[in-house]
């Protein structure tokens, strides 16, 4: 299994993952990547930043396990997951999921699957900072419904 997981406070580049996954390989036919960014509107219209907390250890294991489940389900060549923690401001990338496979369908579906499970299982919590103060972001039922599509 070629699964790499990084949980880090430092920013990642927009091209992060491509080089790492594609280096010295000519068998990969498709790469799908998803990038999640901090929006300046969410539960309030003027989000100035957010603090991402996580549960060190469990976070990495959960992300690895989600990658492994995708690996069992589809025929994949690489899974690369980066998630940031700490203080982020609008426009900052939060998460990158990059999946490589021989054909596009596997990569599209596996990337979608990994994001759905990351959102509902990985122990991250967002606290948004806005003009009206700070508050913890509520979970969304649509995320739970999205994850239920795969069972």
């Amino acid at each position: 299994m070629n699964i790499r997981v990084y949980v880090q406070a430092t920013p990642f580049a927009l091209a992060d993952g491509y080089e790492q996954v594609l280096a010295q390989r000519t068998d990969i036919g498709a790469v799908v990547s998803f990038t999640g960014l901090v929006r300046d509107f969410n539960e309030t219209p003027d989000v100035t930043g957010l603090t991402l907390e996580h549960y060190p250890g469990m976070t990495e294991r959960t992300l690895e396990s989600i990658g492994e489940q995708a690996w069992q389900r589809w025929s994949l060549q690489a899974v690369y997951i980066v998630h940031r923690v700490g203080y982020l401001t609008p426009g900052d990338p939060i998460v990158r999921v990059l999946v490589a496979s021989a054909h596009r369908r596997e990569a599209f579906e596996a990337c979608d699957f990994i994001m759905d499970f990351l959102k509902t299982q990985a122990p991250f919590w967002k606290k948004e900072h806005s003009g009206q103060g700070e508050y913890w972001v509520k979970e969304r039922t649509t995320d739970t419904q999205d994850a239920a599509r795969w069972t």
Partner: protein, 266 residues
């Protein structure tokens, strides 16, 4: 919004609470006193010239809570049913964190009593330590939460010093705490739940737990402090040794149990 302590002519006015219904009221206030690391060490080692600083400050805080009406002009005198004061020595912040809880069944809130208790406990700490350190600073005296009464509950959720990650471990590492002398479990509270219960880590003696499973642990914690009753909320999630667990999951010596709200990453 009108200030209840002013009448229509803007004069000071003690509010008539006779018609208010008696309810269970509770308020928690906190504050801290920042001092030199050497002073903190003398304090924690019990080597200050004035003797047991913490015990004295605790009594001072309790006495102050009872006498709040004598200090704050428009406060009613209240028959408090409970006053408790906790001190936490914070080596990293080089300070003593003080928390006061006041409770009563009555017609008026107890936040002034809790705030007074914290203030006087901090002042007493200053008095007890001033022989060796005059740079001490009393800081961040504030109401943490308030329950009961017609204006509803209040919970401070904006904590200035929010830890980025929970626990001491760097990313990807799990730190092991010191071994307990007797069988125990390490309990962690994460994210919003940590702020609601006001504590991040607790070590609990397994003998205090009525049954060695998550349900038993929740019962023991609720018994210890009513704030932990939030653990009964169905939204509260739980992991044993970083693996998701439910109420019937067994716990054993040295387990790490974490309680946390639904996740919101990605």
């Amino acid at each position: 919004m009108q200030l209840t302590h002013l009448n229509t002519r803007g004069e000071a006015n003690m509010v008539d609470v006779g018609d208010k219904r008696e309810t269970r009221r509770e308020a928690v206030a906190s504050g801290r006193i920042i001092m030199q690391p050497e002073t903190l060490k003398l304090l924690s080692d019990g080597e200050l010239p004035k003797g047991d600083v913490i015990a004295t400050a605790r009594i001072a805080g309790i006495q102050a809570a009872k006498r709040t009406h004598e200090l704050i002009p428009l406060c009613h005198s209240l028959a408090l049913s409970k006053v408790s004061i906790e001190f936490e020595i914070d080596q990293e912040g080089s300070c003593v964190n003080v928390t006061a809880l006041c409770r009563l069944n009555g017609r008026t809130g107890v936040e002034m009593e809790a705030l007074t208790a914290v203030s006087v406990a901090c002042l007493t700490l200053y008095d007890m330590c001033k022989a060796v350190d005059k740079d001490m600073r009393i800081d961040a005296v504030q109401l943490e939460s308030k329950h009961g009464g017609v204006r509803g509950d209040y919970q401070r959720d904006a904590r200035p010093a929010m830890p980025i990650v929970t626990g001491e471990g760097a990313t990807g590492e799990v730190t092991l705490g010191e071994r307990c002398a007797s069988p125990c479990v390490r309990v962690k509270f994460l994210a919003e739940l940590r702020e609601r219960v006001g504590v991040s880590d607790i070590v609990l003696d397994l003998e205090q737990v009525p049954s060695c499973d998550i349900a038993g642990l929740k019962a023991a914690l609720s018994q210890r402090d009513p704030r932990f009753s939030v653990l009964a909320d169905q939204r509260t999630l739980c992991a044993i040794n970083q693996v998701m667990a439910n109420d019937s999951a067994r716990i054993t010596n040295e387990d790490e149990v974490a309680f946390f709200p639904p996740v919101t990453g990605g």
